[in-house]
Every structure is written in C-alpha cells, then in structure tokens.
C-alpha cells in the first residue's frame, strides 16, 4: 500500500499511530497516540479541528463495487472520535461536529450527517442514514434529535496542541500553506 500522508500546518499528529494509505490531515486536528487510520479503499481526507483520541480506528474499507479512481472518505470539521471508537466506512462523507463516544462502532453502510452523537458502546451495523443532530445512546440505542449541534471542542484542541509536543514525538507537517488551499478544495469537488 502506498503511504502518502499529508499533514497540514497546525495539525498535531503523534508519531506513535498507524497511518496507512493516502491520508490528508487538516490544520488544527489533533491525533493522539495509538490511533489507527487505514485508507485501503481510497484516500481519507480529514478536515480541520478534528479530535482523534487513543485507540480510535478509522478504516476506509475496500468494497467490491469500487469506483476508479476510488472515492475519498471525507471527514468534516470538528468531529470528535473518543477513546476506542471504530468507524468503517466506504461512504464518501461524514458531516461535521459529530461525536463518536467511547467504544462506539459505526459499520460500513451508515451515512452520518452533522451534529450526530453515537453514544458510548453503541454499535450501528444496519444500513441507515443519520439525520443531522441525531443522538443515539444507551444499550437499547435510544435516539433523539438534538436542537443544536454539539458544542465544539476548541478549548480542548487548543490545550492539547500546546501540551502534546511536551510529552510525545510528533509528525511534522509536510504540506505548505499554498498547497493547503488546493488540497482542501479537492473533496468538495469530488
């Protein structure tokens, strides 16, 4: 598998994580150690200010009816992936300001809008589309519609990007500003 990791300026990416395939990480995004992001079915593009906590796993799965060139998996801004959550998706798009709580699982045929919360240990396997601001919680997967998007984690991200360099080896941003704008344009066209 080709390794083509693009880290934009302002992103905090720990060295101790598994990044495979064609991955673009937006500015302001924080990736904790032990995170796994595998782009085997196509590129993964992560927008700005996302938070990936320890042991979260994002896999862009290979599928049989793959288009050529493969469609990228685009993860919108301000998404929070809490400890141990898992997302397997060949679908092209994850909205913004979603929260994937601890040990939640999102299977392949789930389309996720914006402002959704997948509760701790909830697992979504059946093909479905989550409307914006859907909150799923509890062992019985109750769901409700929130009035507004979840508050952003800007303070936390700010803090982490200041503190993490003191305790972890980081991967250096390898894309310059000029290229940045072109990169982030791509998914919108796609």
């Amino acid at each position: 598998m080709s390794h083509n990791i693009k880290i934009l300026p302002g992103a905090t990416v720990c060295e101790d994580c598994t990044l495979e395939g064609d991955i673009t990480i937006g500015g302001g995004t924080v990736i904790h150690p032990r995170v796994t992001i595998i782009a085997e079915g196509g590129p993964i593009i992560i927008a700005e200010y996302c938070l990936f906590e320890e042991y979260s796993t994002i896999i862009h799965k290979k599928s049989d009816k793959q288009e050529n060139p493969p469609k990228p998996l685009f993860i919108g801004a301000h998404n929070v992936f809490e400890v141990g959550c898992k997302l397997e998706s060949p679908c092209g798009h994850i909205g913004e300001s979603n929260v994937f709580e601890c040990r939640s699982f999102v299977g392949v045929d789930v389309k996720i809008g914006s402002g959704c919360v997948i509760g701790a240990a909830c697992s979504l396997n059946a093909p479905q589309t989550l409307a914006d601001n859907t909150v799923i919680w509890g062992s019985e997967h109750h769901n409700r519609e929130a009035l507004e998007k979840q508050p952003s984690q800007m303070l936390q991200l700010d803090f982490l990007s200041k503190v993490m360099p003191n305790y972890h080896r980081l991967r250096k941003p390898n894309v310059h500003k000029r290229q940045t704008s072109r990169q982030s344009q791509e998914p919108i066209k796609a």
Binding site: W137, G138, H142, L147, Q150
Partner: protein, 485 residues
C-alpha cells in the same frame, strides 16, 4: 457465595424458609437466627439526595414531595443532569445601538444551563433560559391539577383524622366499662372539641366540612374523539415522548419532546433493619449520607460459616460424584462444625430455662400484645427435596478463627485424610460424595442439600455475662448444574 453476574450456587435457608445467598442474609445475635430482607422490619433512617448528599428530616422531605430542590434528572433518559457554564456574549445589536454607555458591560457573563452527559439533552432544547447562578432559580412548572390534588389530600387527611377519633372514642368506652380510670375529659368536664382546641388540633367540624364539601370525580362514558390529524398526519417519533418519559412526570405527562422539563431528583433513604421477633437492630447505617459505614452490621456473612463449591464431577443419574466444598469460619473464635442432613436438624425448642426477671416477664407481656400474625403468613417450609443426596461423613471439623494476617502465610497444609483436602488458617476444603438417584431427569437442574451444625460463640452477650457458646444450625442448598444424560 454470591456473585455479581452469575447465579447463586449456594443458598442458605432463612429462618422464615426463604432461600437466599449468604450475602443477602442477616444474623440476629439476640435470637441466634438467620434473617432475610423478607422477614425483617425495614425502617427509614434519613432522607438524602444521592447527588448533592444533602440530608433532610423526614418532615421537610415530605414537604418537598421527597425531591431535592437543587438537583435534577434528565427528562429524556433519567440520568442526573449536570450544570454547565457558558460565556454569554453580550448581544451585538444592543451593543451598537446603545453606543459607548455599555462599554464597561462588555465582559462576557457566565451563564449556566443544565445538560445530560448521557443523551445530550440540555435545558436549552426546550427553551428554558440560561440562569445567572449555578444552582437553583430554575423555573418551576405549576401542576395544572394542583387544586384538585390538594382537595383530595385534605379529604383523605380528614378521613384519617375521623377514623383516629372514632378509634379513640372506642378506646375510651372500653375504659369506661372498666370504670377504674377517670379520663382527663371526664374529670374536668371538658368536651372533646374543647380539648382539641386547647391542644391546637383542627376541630372535628372543619374536618367534617372537608368531607362534606368533597365531590368525588365521575367517570364519563363520553370521550372526546381523536382529532383528524391523528389518522392523517405522518408521525415523527423523534418528536413524541416515550411512555417512561411521560410517566416520569405524572403531573404533566408531556406528549411532545418540546414539553419535557427537568425532573427534580428523587430523594434516597438510608434504611436500618430490625429483627421483627426481638426488635433489635440488625443493621444501622451511619447518619452522614456520605458515609457507607454501618454502626450495627449483623450480616450472616460475618457470623455463619460460609460454604463455597470448589468443583464437582458431572451429576449422572444413579451414579456417585465427588463434590469439593470450601468451608470458611468468618468469626473471631474457633468453630466446630458437623455436617448433617437437613431433616436431622432438631426442632427449635422453647427456651424456658431463661432466668425470669421482672424485665423479662414485662417484655413477654408486651410481646403478647404484639401482633405476630405476620409471621404465620410469611413463614414457609423450604422445598429441600432433591434427587442428589450428599453422603455425610461422621466427623467434627474444627476451624480456626479468622486471622487477617494469615492471608499472607505459606501454602495450605495437606491433611492426610479422605475427607479434608487441605486446611489454611480459617478455611478448609472437603471432599464429599454425592449419590444421585436413578430417577433424575437428564437436563434438569441438579441440587443437593446440606446442613451445618456449628458452635457459635456470642461475644457480645447482654449485660456482662461471660461469652456463651451456642450450637446452631444452618441448612443450605447447592446447585450442581444440570443432570447429565
């Protein structure tokens, strides 16, 4: 032993006949009997809020309808709501409109709202305005049926009072027949109404007026028809409340999620337990709600020898299987244990050899008046018939007292004995034989019964007597998995 998630393999027979794991049983040191939650008296010690740990007397709790005034539960998922702070930006438009006059007021103000960490419901979802203070001040919703509920309350209070009065009158008549005593009212010529007035009690007239003016509600045949939209309009389940959500606030029973309102948190109680036979406390918690300790804690786990199943051979009809048990002496005194069949437990005899003091006889006469009919209805004979029968060895086992330091000692000593497998401080392992009858059905649950006769030293005897040893019995039922085919 009781497990958190597994079934209870060893159950003890309570003095009332219930089968319970040892961790759910109490031991009355005064009756020297095993008691369970089913046959003891539960009393409320104190009311407190489990969230803020505020303590309140029962009268106040009743006044507040057993709810905390500062904590709330989520109306959506019933988890406790947390208070969250936000910085409210002063409105831009007003800023510009009023110009320089509000410059010093520009600092963002801290505002608070309630939020649920489980389902992410917030007080903003239903349009409750943010509050400038962290606790309290949340708008309360008035109960639309408050007047009717109060009417009902008054009515039943009046009825209760009337019944009490009637009972008192009856009592007085009894005394009058005896003719020995002169009641206060008789002597002074006061009437009942005057006496009530002096005592500050509401006069009987007012209570009777509450009864007279009360109108019972009427059931009606005619029910409003459902509006047309119930049949035609598409339902959005996200907008409709669930049944538990409606029942959680019975005053309003919101049908729409936009009408959900924080639920004032229900108070918890600290309970103490009392033996119903001798009226002594079995457990008494410390008063402070933050403390999980007990002042009195007479649990069977600390007084009755504990039996655990180590392992057993599969139970087959008509076969003999080995059964390994572990016995533990939880007390601070050496204990002699004999195994026996439950049917060989001698019937408890009335203890008549007790020294008869004045106190005792007084107690007895009080006990005579005590209503003990409950015990007859509660008591049952446990079903201890099983297809498996444990062959009981005729030995007396001696178990050392519990010694917490011995936990760190060396390996167990292995006795050269067919019955005792090993010993280690206050524990020993036994090897027993289980004979299964040929009629046992394959697949059915196999159970065996066993009784223990043990010497128990009552270390805290009443009034400075020397500690006394008692011979006590406990019957228990072991679950040995399914009968194999």
């Amino acid at each position: 032993m009781a497990y958190l998630t597994q079934p209870d393999y060893v159950k003890y027979v309570c003095s009332c006949g219930q089968l319970k794991p040892i961790t759910n049983l109490y031991f009355c040191r005064h009756c020297l009997q095993i008691r369970c939650a089913f046959c003891i008296c539960h009393e409320v010690d104190s009311h407190y809020c489990a969230n803020c740990l505020e303590n309140m007397p029962s009268s106040e709790a009743r006044l507040k309808k057993n709810r905390c005034s500062s904590c709330f539960d989520c109306p959506s998922c019933f988890h406790t709501l947390s208070t969250r702070a936000t910085l409210a930006q002063p409105r831009q438009s007003t800023e510009q409109g009023s110009g320089d006059t509000k410059v010093e007021n520009k600092q963002p103000k801290k505002m608070y709202y309630l939020s649920c960490f489980n389902c992410r419901w917030t007080s903003r979802d239903v349009g409750i305005p943010d509050q400038p203070v962290a606790s309290g001040g949340w708008p309360e919703r008035a109960n639309p049926y408050a007047t009717r509920v109060n009417q009902l309350l008054d009515y039943y209070k009046a009825i209760a009072q009337q019944e009490k009065q009637e009972k008192l009158d009856r009592e007085r008549k009894k005394f009058a027949i005896r003719g020995k005593y002169i009641t206060l009212t008789d002597k002074t010529g006061l009437t009942g109404a005057m006496a009530r007035n002096i005592a500050g009690l509401p006069s009987s007239e007012s209570s009777s007026s509450a009864i007279a003016s009360f109108t019972p509600s009427q059931a009606s045949e005619e029910v409003e028809e459902l509006p047309e939209e119930f049949y035609t309009k598409e339902l959005n389940l996200n907008q409709i409340t669930s049944m538990p959500q409606r029942l959680a606030s019975p005053e309003w029973q919101p049908t729409h999620v936009s009408r959900l309102h924080p639920i004032a948190k229900l108070l918890s109680v600290k309970r103490s337990q009392r033996c119903r036979v001798c009226d002594h406390n079995l457990t008494k918690p410390e008063y402070n709600p933050g403390s999980i300790k007990f002042k009195i804690e007479l649990l069977a786990f600390y007084h009755v020898p504990e039996v655990k199943i180590i392992s057993y051979e599969p139970i087959k009809p008509g076969c003999t299987s080995a059964l390994l048990l572990k016995l533990t002496n939880p007390t601070g005194h050496e204990m002699q244990i004999r195994l026996m069949q439950p049917e060989d437990i001698p019937e408890p005899e009335e203890r008549v050899d007790e020294p008869k003091s004045i106190e005792k006889s007084l107690e007895k006469s009080l006990n005579l008046e005590k209503d003990t009919s409950w015990y007859e209805t509660v008591k049952r004979k446990p079903i201890l018939l099983t297809e498996c029968r444990i062959t009981i060895p005729d030995v007396t086992l001696t178990l050392a007292q519990r010694d917490d330091a011995a936990e760190y000692d060396d390996d167990a000593t292995h006795d050269a004995n067919d019955i005792i497998l090993w010993r280690k401080s206050n524990k020993l392992a036994l090897r027993l034989q289980v004979v299964t009858s040929g009629e046992a059905q394959a697949g059915a649950a196999a159970g065996a019964v066993l009784a223990l006769q043990y010497r128990y030293r009552n270390a805290v005897p009443p009034a400075a007597q020397p500690p006394r040893d008692h011979t006590l019995h406990a019957a228990l039922r072991l679950h040995l998995g399914p009968v194999c085919g």
